[in-house]
């Protein structure tokens, strides 16, 4: 009897360990989720993507056309009087600031690419990839150094631009981007470069992770315009002095 008890107890002990392992494993699989996606579903999604991409391209063309028409109206209106001409100039300036018109000027071109150092097994690959945070920090640094316009892979950064990680890609202005990332900034090239290369600054930080960074000063950078439609559904203007 004693022997049998002993046997039961030792099995119970192993069962205890087994139970703990089971729970731990369940938890892990719950976190990571099952990566299984059926082939058919993938095809469906691919088809959907294609449709939406086509639609997007069409809409893009439409936006361009409408913009051109607005320009025409404004031009014809400005011919009518000097007042509207002054307003036209003001509008142009505001547009420039908002990033709705393309422009050019001196500045720097920064290229960021994922690390090409062979990854050691067991190391977190995330450390050697470029994240939204890295790009945000570069953009932030550039604006802080007086950049007047910044674009990421030719997508203009405006007041409502987002920079966000989505899986292995980064979304800017609702468009997916993959490395290498080219960040262009218009401003004083020397100041911009110095701000990035500052001791303890962003470049030093990125180089710790062997991310490939290159900075080029250029006299003439083409700055693209913000191309997405602008809709303000919630924001209403308040007049100065009204709601102070």
């Amino acid at each position: 009897m004693n022997d049998k008890n002993k046997a039961g107890l030792s099995i119970a002990l192993v069962c205890l360990v087994l139970g703990m392992m089971l729970v731990a494993q369940f938890r892990t699989t719950q976190i990571s989720g099952s990566a299984y996606t059926s082939h058919q579903r993938a095809q469906e999604i691919a088809q959907e993507l294609k449709n939406i991409t086509d639609e997007r391209d069409m809409l893009k063309k439409e936006v361009l056309n409408l913009r051109l028409r607005i320009d025409e109206y404004e031009n014809s209106a400005s011919k009518i009087s000097s007042l509207t001409e002054a307003m036209q100039k003001e509008l142009e300036k505001t547009r420039m600031m908002a990033g709705l018109t393309a422009g050019e000027g001196p500045g720097v071109v920064i290229t960021l690419d994922d690390s090409n150092v062979p990854k050691q097994p067991g190391e977190d690959p995330n450390l050697y990839l470029i994240h939204d945070e890295d790009i945000l920090r570069v953009i932030n640094e550039l604006f802080a150094a007086g950049a007047e316009a910044v674009s990421v892979n030719d997508l203009r950064i405006v007041a409502t631009s987002e920079v966000r990680c989505v899986g292995p890609t980064i979304i800017v202005n609702s468009i997916r981007l993959a490395p290498p990332f080219t960040i262009k900034a218009v401003g004083d090239p020397d100041v911009l470069e110095a701000s990035l290369k500052m001791r303890g600054g962003i470049i030093e930080y990125l180089e710790v992770y062997n991310i490939q960074v290159s900075i080029k000063k250029q006299d003439k950078i083409q700055m693209p315009a913000y191309t997405r439609p602008i809709q303000l559904n919630y924001l209403k203007p308040t007049k100065a002095g009204e709601n102070q």
């Binding site: 022997d3 049998k4 002993k6 046997a7 039961g8 107890l9 030792s10 099995i11 119970a12 002990l13 192993v14 069962c15 205890l16 360990v17 087994l18 139970g19 703990m20 392992m21 089971l22 729970v23 731990a24 494993q25 938890r27 892990t28 699989t29 976190i31 990571s32 067991g122």
Partner: protein
């Protein structure tokens, strides 16, 4: 035969209340280890029914199986061959064999007369 069940329930309970979780990287090792542990448990129960249970053999078998399975998984990862399939196969087959023997043992316990006919 109530001890293993109680042990399992306590283990599950401890697992639920303590925040242990395994990094995703090691979850394949863990699944193999779980299989090895299951195999050991079934082996132990079987040995009890056959009346040749030895605590030392049982405990060492548990650890040796688990470690060997983990090692095979690691080795297979390095070589690019899923060697852990060998462990899954071996343990799977053994679990079902042991289950069959345990089943016969239980049936003998419950219907002793039928068996003696």
């Amino acid at each position: 035969m109530i001890y293993p069940l109680i042990g399992l329930i306590i283990g599950l309970f401890i697992g639920f209340i303590s925040p242990i979780s395994i990094p995703v990287k090691y979850s394949s090792y863990m699944s193999i280890a779980i299989l090895a542990a299951l195999d050991s448990v079934f082996g132990g129960i079987r040995a009890i029914y056959e009346n040749n249970f030895d605590v030392n053999i049982f405990i060492t078998g548990f650890f040796a199986n688990t470690l060997m399975a983990g090692f095979l998984t690691y080795f297979g990862d390095r070589l690019g061959i899923p060697i852990y399939l060998a462990a899954i196969f071996a343990f799977g087959v053994r679990i079902f064999q042991n289950l069959a023997i345990i089943r016969r043992g239980i049936i003998k316990h419950i219907f002793p007369k039928k068996d003696q006919k």
